[in-house]
Subunit: 128 residues, 3 copies
């Protein structure tokens, strides 16, 4: 397993980790198959989305904030919205690897989703 460190600076934030995941694939020496990109946190997630116009990630955060209300829950830590977003987006993504390279669509990037930052976070990469 290869570990990536991610430092976030907002409560809700999407950070492009594509290059770091490619570096992890290189260091694992993985050539062909599928890798899992997993975050071990319950108020964060991994997603794949557009890497061209930064308004897209801004809109994903804005849209999720409208869909998932931030108050009105039981859990005393006040971050139940973060836990719900984490389960909606999911703890991991799977990406095909060929000739040691991540196979992504033209506009796809891999994103670490922070839903309860700012914090120092981890992402784990393992070949399947």
């Amino acid at each position: 397993m290869h570990k990536i460190k991610v430092s976030t600076s907002e409560r809700n934030e999407l950070i492009d980790i594509t290059d770091k995941v490619q570096q992890a694939v290189n260091e694992l020496g993985f050539v062909k198959g599928v890798i899992t990109v997993f975050t071990p946190h319950t108020t964060a997630a991994i997603t794949i989305n557009e890497n061209a116009d930064p308004d897209v990630t801004r809109d994903i955060i804005y849209g999720l904030n409208k869909i998932v209300p931030s108050s009105g829950y039981y859990h005393s830590e006040g971050n139940s919205d973060s836990h719900i977003k984490s389960s909606m987006i999911g703890a991991s993504e799977q990406i095909i690897v060929e000739s040691g390279q991540l196979k992504l669509g033209t506009w796809q990037g891999i994103y670490f989703c922070e839903f309860d930052g700012p914090r120092l976070r981890e992402v784990w990469v393992q070949s399947n």
Copy 2:
């Protein structure tokens, strides 16, 4: 493939199956890589979330019920909300295994999500 039986008692319920998944990994004799935890039902899902404060799973159910209205659909069985939640949360999770042990974050548990119970359900575990 290893099969886990899950008996649910509410219409919407999250049940911690982490120990049963670890037992499946043991029985499969799987040592290193990634496993898939998959549910073969279309009104259920698998998620990873906090295993410490039970208010978190309670809030996830409460939050999803607010996000996904329970009525106003075409499907005559009256469980379209259950199908939508199933696709939003997802039919499977992938978890890294090292030295025969599930690698999860400190606060992470693996949950079977019942969205149309109570029922007797199955979860399938297979090494990738």
Copy 3:
């Protein structure tokens, strides 16, 4: 990797690709383990849901349209709702294979989710 072509005809549409994925498994000669079904587009997704009553997929589209508003975003292309749905449903699904056959529940089908069609799309299948 095996590539599937999908031609969509609506802005929002769920298309059953189960047979095409089984055909991909056959052509890859994959016998046992887990396969990844991945879409390289950022306004589409892959999901698993009911294949019996077509009202279910109709309700999933209807429900997602109510959950994710179609306007009020920054991104100038006017398809931020499509990007949000893509991240909520997810770019891939993982399915167990035994004796060369996809292992799905009785009512489960694999669906390509179009959220910004009509377009010509791709789905990539790879054994893990």
